[in-house]
């Protein structure tokens, strides 16, 4: 028997705001709630997906990639992901700087992805990011949002490591 939730309760249980739930529905990360009688009704499936989104965010996945994952995984796999048991993330190929996003194509429809178009660029500028003494990261200004995300994570972990030392 699936429980039905009111928006506020669902949001509280999932640890997000009601507005974020609504944003995910608008964006297509969550299915639309049903309308029964006078009330909007969300289900356990919504809660499961909200928790899965949080888990995937903890793995630094951007929302576009999360959307792909949510569409790919079966309810059972989603549950495993949330429980932290046997779930394995899609094995992405190693990120290559400036690589075309086609490599991440899992065959699932992605409604909205803002990849930069290389065709619009004539020059490419590389930024050097010093991660630690003797270690540098080079990032092209044409790199995708996901790549920049990754670069930022690397930088932050380097900073954190540096702070500990």
């Amino acid at each position: 028997v699936t429980q039905s939730w009111k928006l506020e309760d669902l949001a509280t249980h999932a640890g997000v705001s009601a507005r974020t739930v609504r944003y995910y529905v608008q964006r297509g990360l969550l299915p639309a709630p049903a309308f029964k009688g006078r009330d909007t009704v969300y289900t356990d499936d919504h809660l499961l997906r909200l928790r899965a989104i949080r888990k995937l965010q903890d793995k630094f996945l951007p929302l576009d990639a999360i959307q792909v994952e949510l569409a790919r995984l079966t309810p059972a796999e989603l549950q495993e992901l949330v429980d932290g048991t046997t779930y394995k993330m899609t094995s992405y190929p190693p990120l290559v700087l400036g690589e075309s996003p086609a490599k991440y194509d899992t065959g699932m429809p992605v409604p909205r992805v803002d990849w930069p178009s290389r065709a619009t660029r004539t020059t490419e500028t590389w930024t050097r990011i010093a991660l630690a003494p003797g270690l540098e990261l080079h990032l092209a200004d044409t790199a995708s949002a996901a790549t920049r995300e990754l670069a930022e994570q690397l930088r932050q972990s380097a900073v954190m490591k540096g702070n500990r030392e």
Binding site: A18, P31, T40, R112, P116, R121, A143, R148, E152
Partner: protein
């Protein structure tokens, strides 16, 4: 999974057809209706989300939706409750609209279940107080929420709630709510603006071409083109507004509210002595283009309003900031020239980290005057205002909002809460008027620690609760709740020059000008007061409840209360399923250089999403050098750097080459040798190019003090900026710090009293021919400064030069006191000529 989701923002299928602004300006206020027309061209129901601007001083008093031929008025509810009402209605297939305040000048309209083929009209009504300043009223309407700088790294814990182009950051948790995406949009703007001010008005518009029609006492204004792009502020200036009474009393009898306005005459107060001024100039990417040119010009004019003995400094900021000098320096000819050259070399690029330089300025001059020149495009307004006000002792902040799209909310707050003032400069507007207005305010006598008490009448709950300072000649207003209709007195007390100040204003409530709706302005002012109170925990909750109660009771929206309207639908009109949500994109702002080159809009967006910092940087600029090159010392730059105007005495010298771009030298007294190379302090931006910058623990853009010798870079004259100066500004632009003029080419320490007397006399006579004398509304102050400087050196001058100086001073200074001073210094042969202007002019011509 149901097939819902975001429709792309590619220009097709945008359900916003157009925006119309209908406004009326009457004595004292402006009432504006913004109408947004929506039409769903898709086959399925759509929800539109439109992030749009309103003037930050406007109070939102009405919201209505017209659908299917029926107009429904919105109601105000607590913000989350309003959201739930809206959301429930949308999910249930009804029609609904929601209006939320994101910032004082940024709002979100959500309009839901737009049915295929159906048109829906949303109307937003605002009221704003308007004061005529020297007979002119400046009416302004922003048209787009421009890209703004979002400081901080993306917050992995920050969940999105909206479709903006920026992700939430720790510093701006709602960044996604205030950053509408940029696209080329098809919807336009219409204007129907009426000035009902009786007088024959002169209409000026620096932003658009207008058609002006006059019927009866009303002046109507519309765009010549009919419809224009929403890409720049609409600025309309009405001149020739009849001066209002010095004291006015408006009343809203139904609700028992009065507004008392006073234009105080405080001329008995002494003007303050020496001033310490720190200029803060925004050189971020959003200022690139027309704005930085305006900012440089305004800054150079500001500098010329300093007096010898004043101290000043300049801070230029973007992702990092740099000082002109280590400490505030005395205003002298030498520092003026150095500052001119420094300002001339400013270029715009990078983020807008305003907080650190603002705190630096506050730390430098906690009791001084801070002049901020910016477009205000930042996302962390609250943080900046809070920390700046906390660091302040008595400093006042005067702000210039510069550009085609200015975010005025922060500027208004900073200046309003420090007793300063805001002036907006749209490209094409006269800068000199605004600079003069700001400096005369900064120097004007003022009454502080103002308290208002009432005798004979029962007035309470004043708003603002802490009355603003009284500044000579500036309109001052308080609103209050009133009981009964008696006559009495308002007693305004405070301190003027450290002395007790007392002003008694007779208030007769039986003779007021009726102004229904005043209660909404009162409630808005009360809410602004309460929002300012810093409380935490349970007290914060109670404070929020008080604010919501005020907003709901008076039907006005604010940060914590939104307008919502629901159209209950049945039968065919009731939709089923989640509507597709369309976030309405906005135009690229006009005049912003970052959008000039074939507007690579997507990459800006990607940069903002991906980059933690430097969100405003365009890709073209990410390859900037990692270290800024110090400039040659400005001492070698001639004074004509100001505008590069040919000498008035027919000099016409070559325009002095500005230092190489992106070169920022720090002024230092030690570096005054005329050597072609010099030692300089360079502000080194050690942050990395594209925005993956310093660890958060360090302030952005840590500066290293570098000591280096370098070769003077080959002067590479930049393309002459087309700042066409009028001849008056050109002459004044060459006035030296002392107040005198000198021959073109004569520099710094090479002073010669005789030569500068003749140059000053010539300049003053030219100004006189152009109609500028000591009583000139705008430039009289600079003429007076010259006269005083000239009279001061008379004792040192040779006889003929002394006579020339005295004669010219007498001629251009119409005031009795200065003329008496001149007469006292005059030689016997000159005295008979006073009173015979023609003879005096002949004598001057002979002497010069």
């Amino acid at each position: 999974m149901s097939q819902s989701g975001l429709v792309t923002t590619a220009g097709e299928g945008i359900p916003l057809l157009g925006v119309e602004v209908v406004a009326e300006v009457v004595a004292g206020h402006s009432r504006v209706k913004v109408r947004q027309r929506y039409r769903n061209g898709a086959a399925k129901p759509v929800e539109a989300v439109y992030v749009f601007p309103l003037p930050s001083a406007a109070t939102l008093v009405g919201f209505a939706m017209t659908a299917n031929g029926r107009r429904m008025e919105g109601v105000v509810k607590e913000r989350e409750e309003a959201f739930r009402t809206y959301d429930d209605a949308i999910v249930a297939g009804h029609g609904a609209a929601l209006l939320e305040e994101e910032r004082k000048n940024v709002f979100t309209a959500s309009v839901g279940n737009l049915l295929p083929g159906e048109e829906t009209l949303i109307e937003i009504e605002t009221v704003e107080r308007v004061h005529a300043d020297q007979g002119s009223i400046r009416w302004m309407m922003p048209t787009l929420v421009a890209p703004r700088y979002i400081p901080g790294a993306r917050d992995p814990k920050g969940d999105r709630t909206a479709h903006g182009s920026a992700d939430p950051t720790a510093q701006v948790p709602d960044a996604d709510r205030i950053t509408p995406k940029i696209a080329s949009v098809s919807y336009g703007l219409k204007l129907d603006l009426v000035f009902d001010l009786g007088a024959e008005l002169e209409i000026e518009c620096p932003s658009h071409r207008l058609n002006v029609t006059r019927v009866g006492g009303k002046t109507s204004v519309a765009f010549t083109q009919g419809e224009v792009a929403l890409d720049r502020d609409v600025v309309v200036i009405a001149r020739g507004v009849a001066a209002g009474p010095l004291v006015s009393l408006l009343a809203d009898e139904k609700d028992g509210v009065i507004a008392l306005s006073v234009i105080p005459d405080l001329t008995m107060g002494r003007a303050p002595g020496r001033q310490d001024v720190c200029f803060l100039v925004d050189t971020s990417g959003s200022m690139d283009g027309a704005s930085i040119v305006e900012a440089r010009a305004a800054l150079r004019l500001c500098l010329r309003h300093l007096r010898e003995g004043d101290r000043f400094n300049i801070i230029a900021f973007e992702s990092s900031f740099r000082r002109f000098a280590v400490e505030p320096v005395p205003f002298t000819q030498r520092t003026l020239e150095a500052a001119d050259a420094w300002v001339q070399a400013l270029v715009a690029s990078g983020g807008t980290e305003l907080l650190a330089p603002m705190l630096d300025a506050m730390h430098m001059l906690p009791d001084g005057t801070i002049v901020l020149l910016t477009d205000g495009q930042v996302g962390n307004e609250d943080e900046i205002a809070r920390k700046t006000l906390a660091a302040r002792r008595k400093a006042r902040i005067y702000t210039f909002g510069i550009g085609t799209n200015v975010s005025d909310a922060l500027l208004r707050e900073l200046s309003g809460k420090t007793g300063g003032a805001l002036e907006m400069i749209h490209p094409g507007e006269r800068i000199d008027e605004k600079v003069v207005a700001q400096f005369s305010r900064a120097l004007a006598p003022r009454v502080e620690n103002v308290k208002v008490s009432w005798t004979g009448i029962d007035v309470g709950e004043l708003a603002p609760a802490e009355p603003p300072v009284l500044v000579d000649g500036e309109p001052w207003t308080v609103l209050g709740k009133v009981n009964g209709r008696a006559a009495g007195t308002a007693e305004i007390r405070g301190t003027l020059d450290g002395q007790a100040f007392h002003l008694a204003v007779p208030v007769d409530l039986r003779e007021t000008t009726a102004r229904p709706g005043l209660v909404k302005l009162w409630a808005a002012a009360r809410i602004a007061d309460l929002e300012q109170v810093e409380v935490t925990g349970a007290r914060a909750t109670r404070m929020k409840e008080r604010i919501v109660a005020l907003a709901v009771a008076h039907g006005i929206a604010c940060k914590y209360a939104s307008f919502v309207v629901v159209e209950e639908r049945t039968g065919d009109r009731r939709a089923s399923g989640q509507p597709a949500t369309v976030a309405i994109p906005v135009n690229a702002p006009a005049g912003w250089a970052m959008f000039d080159k074939k507007a690579d809009v997507d990459s800006l967006h990607v940069n903002k999403v991906g980059a933690a910092r430097g969100a405003m940087q365009t890709p073209a600029r990410t390859g900037m050098p990692m270290m800024k090159v110090p400039a040659p010392m400005p001492a070698s730059v001639p004074a004509q750097a100001f505008g590069g105007v040919p000498g008035a005495a027919g000099g016409g010298g070559p325009q002095s080459p500005p230092p190489a771009p992106r070169a920022y030298a720090m002024y230092s007294e030690r570096d005054q040798d005329d050597a072609p190379e010099a030692e300089a302090y360079a502000a080194v931006d050690s942050s990395l190019a594209s925005g993956y910058a310093m660890p958060e623990s360090k302030p952005s853009g840590v500066k290293k003090k570098l000591s280096m010798r370098l070769d003077m870079p080959k002067a590479e004259p930049k393309k002459a900026e087309k700042t066409e100066l009028d001849p008056i500004v050109a002459i004044l632009g060459r006035q030296l710090a002392s107040g005198l003029w000198d021959e073109p080419g004569a520099l710094g320490n090479d002073t010669n009293d005789g030569r500068s007397t003749r140059a000053t006399a010539r300049a003053l006579l030219e100004l006189n021919d152009l109609g500028v004398d000591a009583n000139h509304a705008l430039h009289g102050g600079l003429v007076k400064k010259a006269v005083q400087a000239l009279l001061a050196i008379v004792p040192r001058l040779a006889a003929a030069e002394a006579e020339l100086a005295v004669a010219v001073c007498w001629l251009v200074s119409l005031g009795g006191r200065t003329r008496k001073a001149a007469e006292a210094l005059a030689v016997a042969s000159l005295k008979p000529l006073f009173g015979d202007e023609q003879a005096l002019r002949q004598r001057i011509a002979a002497l010069i």
